[in-house]
């Protein structure tokens, strides 16, 4: 595993990002943009699931925001992997980074639990609890991520 992370840091792309004063901030900005889109779409979607903005049609609203959230997640994953590759061994050893990864995993499990259990019409039974959990988890992911830069 140690060798794998050290190997990541030696990739041409990682070495280029480490030294570039333009590419790194650009990738960093795109990571922030993806996270912003992800958190906003997740928050609005979860609030709708909890019963807010009832004037907006449930199925169409949730479907649209879920699509945005998934696209934003892919963007965050790609840009995040690039940022990670620059100092892979350092980040992989940070408890706050591992906590962030665990929180993303939990948020993913929560998402699949929602798909599996929260079925049947608008605001299905039990969906509000999963939606609140989703808001909590994604907000925690954001905070854990920001702390990587300060510990």
């Amino acid at each position: 595993m140690t060798e794998f992370f050290a190997g990541l840091e030696q990739l041409a792309l990682a070495r280029w990002l480490k030294a570039s004063f333009i590419a790194y901030p650009v990738v960093n900005a795109l990571h922030i943009m993806s996270i912003g889109a992800l958190l906003t779409s997740v928050l609005l979607m979860d609030l709708r699931i909890c019963g807010a903005f009832r004037s907006l049609p449930y199925a169409a609203f949730v479907a649209l925001l879920r699509r945005i959230a998934l696209a934003a997640f892919v963007g965050a994953l790609v840009t995040g992997s690039l940022l990670f590759s620059v100092k892979a061994s350092t980040y992989a050893a940070m408890p706050v980074f591992l906590a962030k990864m665990a929180l993303i995993l939990l948020a993913g499990i929560n998402f699949f639990a929602f798909l599996r259990f929260a079925r049947g019409g608008d605001e299905p039974a039990g969906s509000a609890i999963l939606a609140v959990l989703s808001i909590l988890l994604w907000t925690s992911v954001l905070f854990a991520g920001r702390f990587i830069g300060f510990l």
């Binding site: 480490k18 030294a19 570039s20 004063f21 960093n28 807010a52 808001i135 830069g149 300060f150």
Partner: protein, 129 residues
């Protein structure tokens, strides 16, 4: 159904508390985490990292492992301090400000001296000559 907004209110509260706590946790960003007076560290370089997001030196000073934070890489390199001018094992003198946390072996350098050459990574903050 039950209003979910009690849950949301507690999320906002948690976020606010974390933000407040976060301001105390600055590491390499800014100077709020460092002491005012100048601090000088002498030792041997054990690791050198000049790159994004932050340039750092690891220094062994009489058996103590220190972390020396430097300027952002663009500024560090502009000051002439690159991975070519210093290597692991070199003697280094780092002048700057140490962490407010006395037990923490961490400082932020404004000036580095390696191989008889002086590199002012924060020229506007160096001690008066």
């Amino acid at each position: 159904m039950q209003s979910p907004f009690n849950g949301i209110r507690s999320v906002a509260l948690t976020a606010a508390v974390m933000l407040a706590a976060g301001t105390a946790a600055y590491a390499h960003h800014g100077w709020s985490w460092t002491q005012d007076g100048f601090f000088e560290l002498r030792g041997k370089i054990t690791a050198i990292y000049i790159g994004n997001p932050h340039a750092t030196l690891d220094v062994d000073a009489e058996g103590e492992a220190w972390r020396v934070e430097m300027a952002p890489p663009s500024r560090t390199i502009a000051a002439g301090f690159t991975e070519e001018v210093a290597k692991v094992g070199d003697e280094v003198t780092a002048i700057g400000n140490r962490s407010l946390e006395a037990s923490e072996k961490r400082m932020k350098a404004v000036r580095l001296i390696v191989g008889g050459k002086t590199y002012d990574v924060y020229p506007d903050r160096v001690p008066p000559a």
